[in-house]
Symmetry: C2
Subunit: 406 residues, 2 copies
Amino acid sequence: MDLTLSRPKLISLAAGFTDNETLPVSEAWELLRELLGRRPTGEPAMQYGSTVGLPALRAQTAARIQAQDAATGEGRLHADLYAPDTTLLTHGSQQLLYMVTEALCDPGDVVIVEDPTYFVFLGILQSHGLECRGVRLESDGLDLARLERVLERLKREGRLPRLKLLYLVTYHQNPTSTTTAFAKKAAALDLLRHYERAAGHPLYLLEDAAYRELRFAGPDTASALAASGGLGRVIYAGTYSKPFATGVRVGFGLLPEPLRTAVTRVKGNHDFGTANLIQHLLSRAIAEGVYDRHVGRLRSRYATKAAGMTAAMRRHFPREVTWEEPRGGMYVWARLPRGVRAGARSELFRQALAAEVLYVPGRLCYADDPTRRAPDSEMRLSFGNATEPDIRTGITRLGKAIHATL
Amino acid sequence: MDLTLSRPKLISLAAGFTDNETLPVSEAWELLRELLGRRPTGEPAMQYGSTVGLPALRAQTAARIQAQDAATGEGRLHADLYAPDTTLLTHGSQQLLYMVTEALCDPGDVVIVEDPTYFVFLGILQSHGLECRGVRLESDGLDLARLERVLERLKREGRLPRLKLLYLVTYHQNPTSTTTAFAKKAAALDLLRHYERAAGHPLYLLEDAAYRELRFAGPDTASALAASGGLGRVIYAGTYSKPFATGVRVGFGLLPEPLRTAVTRVKGNHDFGTANLIQHLLSRAIAEGVYDRHVGRLRSRYATKAAGMTAAMRRHFPREVTWEEPRGGMYVWARLPRGVRAGARSELFRQALAAEVLYVPGRLCYADDPTRRAPDSEMRLSFGNATEPDIRTGITRLGKAIHATL
């Protein structure tokens, strides 16, 4: 961010910001006019709410996730898991992830993550003194055989009693754009359940669905809540910020008890509850269909930008660079030939910066897991915030830098 | 809160909510209309900001505190301490308090607090495994001789190296309404400095100024930033929520380095930064004078409500009950005769509840300090949220309950 501010010519393909042009400015204005135009609706929006969050928005949230899961036809839905009482509203889904970590984990505990995974949460985990073990990703989610191997190894090492969480970014993953198949979530839950006896406590699956609504190709997939092993073991984290407006930071979690009570207590300590005005704004946006219409527009816009980015990559990147076409989210994960380094101290990163283009080195997305060597020849490219001309220019510059490095 | 929701007849003199009728609903709407009426101002408000917060609002914040301190004529101002670069914006001042605790304290550390103090922060400290030592309050702030005694005792016990913070709610304190004299802040800082050598690290004064702008009688007092011992040792926490609207949760801190950098890192992990829309709203409210006009109205309203509450207390409470007239904030601290218990399990609390009136038992505001016995014959009464008729009815009911208990 600092780099972006101090170098106005720099094209950042690094930031996870959303698209400026699509921000629903006039829509928010209309909704706020209705909300604040009358004191009976205006006063509650300007007053404290409760720590768990606005009841109407909690009900809308639970109902939305249930409807999304039901529409996939996958799994079997337990209505209890999609109730306002399981739902907690937060200042972005980041805050939920943070509070779950605080409520559940002590220094020295173990969390299993995807290899690679969302690097900010990785930073949170590791700064809390937690040990992260990575499980390789396949094109439809984590490699189950490897997950079992990690669990076996933890058992052998006597570390299972310190395992608390399996953290998966299940939809259009940050950074790889991978979506986890429902069958894999169900199988992962079964595996966790199998090792619970040796752990001596529940092993939770923390499902980070931040990018679920930003799908622009292919069918939706049911969440882990719909898996038979999901009862009491799945924490579902989502957000309204990225699909609507990142300046309106409201995220949410669906959590089983006693975890929801514990996390709510942490929330009370953090800030008493999410700023009420923006919760009322979102609740109204959903109730009036403004939110869904906006998400529809955003999807087609991101589809176009993603296609523009990968078209430019096909044209300007060497043949040896590979990637999967994103079906949602805002990232393309580019793999360079083995041996080509892309890290923050690499020749490539330096050359890219000299050419005024910024990417996220893939290495940052790998946990400090001593049991394997982290790859350093990948990069995360975001088509979220940059304009279409900037994406083309940025990819052209980056292509030159890669060519020069190979 | 749960109690209030489930018993509609209950008059709560417990909640620290602000006055519904004075909420600046139409003012907020006007400001949002200007903000969101044009895309050049609307887009930044709807997009992510930076972790430290909106630059304009940081500059306004630092300048306001500097002007407030300058206007008192007390102390000597170091311009460096009132700079945008020392300022961090948060989701309410509560979040700042929480993050300072996280950044600075480890389980087993010691924090010195006022006896009594703000009970929510006390809960945060104690839930982080911190030991709290209480220092008796006088009518102009903490008893300096007792502060020295606590420091001496910590030194004797070899616990000084674990001391991290002195936490003071310096303006119209929650719960007692006491304002700390500037000379006492300066003396407390000098005392802390004196013990730093034995501690082996900086001893910070965390000055919680949440109620500073809600002053309705008497002159303002300079913050600890203006004391000569304040350089590099004062963390100043404030809020825009209570003076403007609690649904617009924006607080702030002025922090010395390296603490500001450390706390900013924690903020990045919590939520990346405060919701941008509400920061833009507040910045505009301040720039256009809407904020100050609103604070003026709020002050005269609270002055009236406070006078109404204490008038009713003089009429309906037994003579043996004593209190100080509040000069700001939203609380009256009532002291019952020694031996009359007011705690959550007391006969008085039970009778008050049966009569449909709720107060905060004073005992909750005392730390679990093993070196002294905590009083249990006080109550915190809030005139913030209840209407004037409800305040009169509530005090009448409470008076009857106290009479019955004596």
